[in-house]
């Protein structure tokens, strides 16, 4: 029945919707690694990062129509990623209590984490960034990893630009303290 039905309209918007699967595939191909790595840095857990990845693209899929091109495609996707990760952190205690089974990680995942742990001293910086409080970590990720400026970050996080600057400052100070002067902050 579905196959036999006759297309009723050629409204471009409707046609665009039909290509949504292809579009999602393209977005996953182009931005997938950015989403997965950002989620990993935020959540510090491969399984959770993969869950976040799925959640991000499900949201993108459902909100296709609401993307108005006010920001770049990447900025939109990174904003969704940050929000999904925040929600997951917020809810993580519930999961710890109610869904302890889900915390098991797969063989492949722990391999990856194991291999990551063995890295050289640059790893110290990576580790310290990952263990920053979420509010400071997100500005470091957006500023240094995604190369957004403070104005763009303020839009992504919905906070004042001054707040972004002060968080960046606090994050740098904290990293300096943790890494005992072995870090060049480029000040």
């Amino acid at each position: 029945m579905y196959f036999l039905s006759v297309p009723k309209e050629n409204n471009p918007e409707k046609v665009a919707k039909k290509n949504i699967d292809q579009e999602l595939q393209r977005l996953m191909d182009v931005y997938g690694n950015d989403v997965l790595r950002t989620s990993y840095m935020y959540l510090k857990d491969m399984q959770k990062a993969e869950d976040a990845f799925q959640e991000v693209f499900i949201k993108i899929y459902n909100k296709f129509d609401s993307f108005k091109g006010e920001s770049s495609e990447k900025t939109w996707i990174i904003k969704v990623t940050i929000n999904v990760c925040k929600d997951m952190l917020r809810n993580s205690w519930i999961k710890r209590v109610l869904l302890t089974d889900r915390i098991k990680t797969s063989g492949r995942t722990s391999d990856i984490e194991g291999r990551i742990i063995k890295r050289d001293e640059n790893k110290a910086l990576f580790d310290e960034v990952l263990s920053l409080p979420a509010a400071l970590k997100e500005v470091i990720i957006l500023y240094y990893y995604h190369a957004y400026d403070t104005a763009e970050i303020s839009k992504i996080l919905n906070v004042a630009e001054g707040t972004v600057r002060s968080r960046l400052h606090r994050a740098r100070t904290m990293l300096k303290g943790k890494l005992e002067g072995r870090i060049d902050l480029g000040d």
Binding site: K18, D21, V35, M46, N62, I116, R119, K123, Y144, Y145
Partner: protein, 236 residues
């Protein structure tokens, strides 16, 4: 030991630390499948949303029918006459409402567009994909078939089938795809699958082979040995 790390290098440092973190085809397929499921659920909700007002409309028609046919001071014998009329009004309304929703919701996606949809069982997958569709004869212990996703141009045979297998938190998928070109598999180990050449990636297991223009692959949270056993069990 002293060294100075420049935070401006954070991007390259982080990418180096996360060089093994990449989105697998399996994760993309799983995500698409989730979206697909949600869309089906949303469609059902839309059907319900349209049916509820339609049902209310029927009720109103029926009520109006009753009120019109029941004058304030009913004479004897008129009650009986009212009964068939109520039924008639209801029947008419019912004929219209579901017909309209079918047109609105199921009317044609653009025939040029690639769509994906869930398939209920392997037999159905064979019908829409053709004889090139193969079910594995061997599946690692504990894994169960969680879902089958098909995609292709609307109104044509499916050109891709994805079988998703899960065991608790672990999962792997088998993909069968016509219209696939033999991509470059540099960095993959050359192997033999039932007499045809194939490719193996052991790190984040993937097995690929091509048979009569169809690209088959097994990928996911299973060991290379298990993936090769699954692949070897896929015979026409």
């Amino acid at each position: 030991m002293t060294w100075v790390i420049n935070i401006r290098d954070f991007k390259s440092i982080a990418d180096e630390c996360m060089k093994d973190i990449k989105v697998s085809e399996e994760l993309k397929d799983k995500t698409l499948m989730c979206c697909q499921k949600k869309r089906n659920i949303n469609l059902n909700i839309r059907v319900n949303r349209l049916l509820v007002p339609a049902a209310s409309f029927v009720l109103i028609l029926a009520t109006v029918g009753v009120l019109n046919l029941l004058p304030p001071k009913t004479g004897t014998g008129e009650d009986n006459a009212a009964q068939p009329n109520i039924m008639a009004a209801t029947d008419n309304a019912m004929e219209v409402a579901p017909g309209q929703t079918t047109v609105d919701i199921l009317s044609g996606p653009d025939s040029e567009a690639i769509e994906s949809w869930s398939v209920t069982n392997p037999d159905e997958a064979r019908k829409i994909f053709g004889d090139a569709f193969i079910m594995p004869g061997y599946i690692p212990e504990g894994f169960k078939l969680e879902g089958i996703l098909a995609s292709g141009y609307k109104g044509e045979m499916a050109d891709k089938i994805i079988l998703n297998y899960v065991k608790e938190e672990l999962s792997f998928s088998i993909t069968e795809e016509t219209k696939a070109l033999e991509d470059e598999f540099s960095g993959y180990k050359k192997i033999d699958i039932n007499g045809v050449s194939g490719y193996l990636k052991e790190d984040g297991t993937e097995v690929h082979w091509f048979l009569d223009g169809v690209h088959y692959s097994v990928a996911g949270h299973i060991s290379s040995d298990e993936a090769l056993r699954v692949a070897a069990s896929m015979k026409r």
